[in-house]
Symmetry: C2
Subunit: 313 residues, 2 copies
């Protein structure tokens, strides 16, 4: 498990290279819910999502020979873009195995940062392992890695600094890396703050894993929140969610799109669907909180496909 | 003319009731232009645009009997929404004369804040004056008022605080209230900073006024940047632009939409077209600056119509 010390060390390691993202209060969205509502704006992070936090914490601890071999990973897009960007920063390169149905703009982003996208209709991890072996590359897992998780935990420290009176933090779940880091940071500093996870009802691998007690897999999960459609949970992420997360709730695509529209129109944030999942859980009633509760919703990214944007309005 | 003292007094008067908006650096948009590029994010201001700065500075200096009579104004939408919001805050109400082709969501916003929109196909100012007289209302001009201009100037003070090394500030122009305030604040504090205005080529009333030396009128100007299509310049705003603004350039709708798309995709800001005009001037070559210039573009608002959003992608 990660510790407060490992998150603080991550923060020092990545400081200056990633953004200290702001938190926005939205009175117009909070008032109808009876809540004080804030958004942790990770869409303004480098490469447009929180992913660079973990990736940079990982890369900055690797020996030079691992860096020089080049990297391989699997990703719906945001982790791949973050790895491609960070790899370019250390003079290396990333190969990114992505689902064939990945958002086109995310495939383009991987390329734009100098990475090599490999699209597949098969299981992502198996394809990534195959290429890793064939080309002798260094694997940087998208979420099931303690250095990645500790890096993502730095967002949790910032939430507590910007919103010291927060009661509840709501975090979207794909493979569980972001919530593992944030929940650890928050529970280890302020155990009374609730941390709630949100998954798409059609990509509920963490909910299934919590039920069975072991990391479950799904065959090609799909959601309008492409970034949350992870095909499996991790051993590390499941352990962190079991230990640090109060509960995980489900939202459907319709609720996610409705919340995304609200984030555009009221909060003026050009978020991606995954970034609207936390608000969707509040607006749909999947999470009901007492009046006056102070809530931070993590807006995890802003890499929206034009097609989804057209669907919105 | 407004003074640094009147802008500072405005700042004290409205502090706490409006947001201190953030400034964002965008490396990915600045690099291809060879610039250090920052956005002053007034889209995150209360009611979704800078307009509340001036309106609140005005209302907080009015005698109670003027407030109690109720307000009248003319607006493409953002000033009307700001006035409706501020009026509700002091227990009064605003009537807002708007063009018949106004963005529907802006008409709805005026209503949502408790205002009464009045749509007209005729000249806005004449219709507003007619209703003012008939109902004995208090006029709050959308831009040609020294208290409004001083209130908008508070954004200029914030720009200098957040970007003390700025070389050039680019501001969109409708009737000229925003640029009058910002340019005064900047030139009175740091005369070496350039202030450049941007107008739509199809709504260039300030450019015409600068050429003729008196406030000009246009018959129903139109632009995708609805907030910049003011039908006339003001006496006060022309005087401030003459004194404090280095130059005014023109951009067409295509350039505005291209810049708006870039602001969505790269800066993750859900801006409205008016808010993209400053970047449009840089991307289109209407403004060419030496490599390394430090530029702040003012993103004036975020009240985007769904129709425009659909046009974007």
């Amino acid at each position: 498990m990660i510790t407060l010390a490992s998150i603080r060390a991550a923060r020092k390691r990545i400081a200056g290279a990633v953004h200290r993202t702001p938190t926005f209060c939205s009175a117009s969205l909070g008032a109808p819910l009876g809540l004080t509502l804030e958004f942790k704006a990770e869409l303004f992070q480098k490469t447009g999502s929180f992913k660079v936090r973990g990736v940079l914490n990982k890369l900055r601890q690797l020996p030079r020979e691992d860096i020089d071999r080049g990297f391989i990973t699997l990703s719906a897009g945001n982790h791949g873009a973050a790895l491609a960007w960070a790899a370019a920063g250390v003079g290396s390169r990333a190969t990114v195995v992505m689902p064939a149905h990945a958002v086109t703009s995310k495939v383009e982003a991987v390329k734009a940062y100098g990475g090599e996208p490999v699209l597949t209709t098969g299981p992502l991890l198996e394809e990534a392992r195959r290429i890793q072996t064939a080309r002798n590359l260094t694997m940087v897992h998208p979420f099931d890695d303690l250095d990645i998780i500790a890096g993502h935990g730095t967002a949790g420290l910032e939430i507590l600094e910007d919103s010291p009176d927060v009661d509840v933090v709501i975090v979207p779940i794909g493979g569980g890396g972001l919530i593992s880091g944030i929940a650890a940071a928050i529970k280890l500093k302020k155990p009374n703050v609730q941390v709630i996870g949100v998954e798409p009802v059609t990509a509920d691998v963490m909910t299934r894993s919590l039920a069975s007690g072991k990391p479950e897999r799904m065959d090609q999960p799909r959601s309008v929140a492409d970034g949350l459609a992870a095909p499996f949970a991790g051993e590390h992420t499941l352990a962190h969610v079991q230990k640090f997360v109060d509960r995980v709730v489900l939202v459907d695509d319709e609720a996610i799109l409705k919340a995304l529209r609200a984030i555009f129109e009221r909060a003026k944030l050009a978020a991606e669907p995954a970034g609207a999942a936390a608000l969707a859980a509040l607006m749909s009633g999947a999470i009901v909180l007492p009046k006056g509760t102070r809530v931070v919703c993590v807006v995890s990214g802003g890499n929206l496909s034009p097609a989804t944007l057209k669907q919105l309005f």
